[in-house]
Symmetry: D5
């Protein structure tokens, strides 16, 4: 838990940094019409980029050779994490695994 | 995320309720001297009960037929969760899996 | 086994507290009509809340990132547990795993 | 749940029949002194037979080719089941899995 | 192998008692018409009960929370076991695992 | 089930042919003294060859690249199979899996 | 590798005996028209029997309780094995695992 | 990392040799029209052979008994590897696993 | 592959960004002397921090509840990655899994 | 199967090219004396290089991040493969998996 103070250092501005590794495997039905798939992917991309700009979706990497990603989310609670993930347009087509991360004593 | 305000709704009174299911399987070496094992278990029990009294270790159940438990932790961050778990005397002997829980829309 | 007496402590009022962890993963077909899915979910929610009010479905948590839950049931027998679970509207679409829980010696 | 009445059909005599399949894999260290192993096995056998005579350990079968068994226990609660299993002399050397069984609608 | 003699103890009346644990998981397609499913289940039930009356299907239990069962079959050979199992109306929809059981030295 | 009659075709001479695939993985401790290991292997080999000559251990193949084998046993019952396997000198060091085989309708 | 020479050791008579265990699990779609399934199975049977007569498909056993088989193939190379297996009418519906077998030093 | 110099040994001609083992399992829907499947396979073959000629797809082997392959790719980066794999016509129908390979100290 | 050129596009300034997710599970023997363990951990920490300062070990997070980490490495080749990982003092005690990451089209 | 003729094309000189992917994971005991481990590794290296020079051990790659390798063997039979693998000094310490490879129709 890393309290971070705002400019005034006021305690009530502190916030917890909390990270999760999220692994998403996308399983689109092979017979989904291309138009439908393209729309889903475009919507997913738009939201993914918005969440990155918001600082919530901290990292997003493709797993080489798979329609899958490894992501790092920076959220304030498990509830916020689930709300974000379940709002993704591809959510119904994904197998998602969440790993709670903590600060590592050797991290600089 | 369930912000809970006090009567005055003061921000500094809010707190996030965040739960994790923690599954612990204990693997004590079968040749550990009984005295050493007893000491470890007694220390573990004392700390487990303290954490329950503190409201951090919300539930603790034995898995029938195994030297294992299913637990619910109520913590403020992943860091706090890891700090608690890694401070358990039996930590070096346990295989632990953590599942982040969120509020279920049908929960009352 | 924790016999609990009623106010009069009459033996025939005793009852066994028996808990099970139940993990449910929902696998709705991605092509199920929205109306059908909504109806199923509404019915599921109604029954889930009734069972919670009855004290049978003691806890219900969402697994962050998944259409899945971790639940604690408080029932009088395996038969009652199966009857409840198989009566859920989503039962045909769920993969369910049951873990029998016992009282933990360190639980307070 | 199969309430069974005594001759007078008195409710307080009813009892729940509750069965569990228990799978036990024994992993004795290969370097355990024969004397110690023999003692453990003899104690295990004595208790296993007592529990069978008591009607608690309803069935006990060897898995062909393995130092393992499949058993059916008939107990009144998860707590009783765990108490019995954890009292077995070989308990520290066994990997045990419990499956809660219910009445099957096609059973006669 | 437990040869059992008839009243006259005639060798040709002896028979081998041979048990198998059979675990069946039923996977009916969620879109199977109810009428078809009901017919299959009724036929399955009729045959299951006949085999129980014949002494072949010695035990049949429901796995709590799943459309699955744990069964004990008492047959004279692997061939007879396979013939029985593959004649079940639900056979094409089941994932079946067979475990050969032997007499346990501690069984009474 | 293939009843085989003796010369006189007398029913009491018939016998069931029953085959099992047995997969054995040998896990000798790497620090076992060579002399002890050699003795175990020699004893194992002697018994394995005797059982082959007896027609019980019908086939014995090495799994390429592993200290493991795939075997076919021809026995009269599960009990006989377990008795044979558990009498092997290497039994305490092996992980054994048994698969019950039946006659295949396309076998010639 | 077991080169088998005649007394004169003539090279053209030598041949390598090479065995593979092949495990085939058949997964026919449950909605395949019976006529189509019957045709596939009849073709499969005809080819399986021809390969057995040719000495290539040395053994073919049914796995009790499953639509699966355990087979032993005797071929001259991995290529020949794959050519045979992929020519089977049921090949597109099967999950196949191949295990390379070698001569066991204790085999007689 | 094996820097390879061109004839003039100029540093800017050096390039890193980087290999990946790629395991591809093809899962074409069994009901895909033959014409569509043939077109996909022909396109796959053409691209696979072009990539082999380009030196990118260094080795391509069939897994005996499966519609699967083991391949070695020689690429300059993870990005190039993913670009190549995801451009394959069969990519949407394949389960792909990538293993990063390094130089082995005993390789000659 | 993201070649990054300076304004003049000078080849010798280009460099490939290549990331790997590395998951490390530490399995120190429970009976390792504390002094030896402390020395190993201190050496590990020193090198881990040096590699972070060098920009090679880009991220290092603790997995909550486990003696394990999730890391991101930024290296120039598989060889460099293996050289770094195998030089870690805890390498002989770790189970390490590597996942090659590529640029995600939705990453910003 | 790719018969290759010698200069004279004589049939008896033909030989089958047969490849196997072999995956070896080395598990040296962490408490093995360094001298013993070094001797084993040196012997392993010498033999591995001899087999490479002989053309039997066609490829040898390190798995990045693991004490493991992926290898390609080119042998004349399963027996030859097993003989080679089981002669490796590290054989008692390795977990080895063998995959039979065939010619791929798209290989050039």
């Amino acid at each position: 838990m890393i309290p971070r103070s705002g400019p005034a250092g006021a305690a009530f501005l502190e916030r917890v940094i909390m990270l999760f590794m999220v692994q998403m495997q996308v399983n689109l039905p092979v017979d989904m019409p291309a138009e439908r798939a393209d729309k889903l992917k475009a919507d997913e991309k738009a939201l993914a980029q918005q969440l990155q700009r918001d600082g919530k979706w901290k990292n997003l990497w493709r797993v080489a050779g798979r329609y899958a990603n490894v992501s790092i989310f920076d959220v304030e609670s498990n509830d916020e994490l689930h709300t974000l993930l379940s709002s993704l347009p591809l959510f119904p087509y994904m197998d998602i695994n969440v790993t709670a991360l903590a600060r590592h004593p050797s991290a600089i």
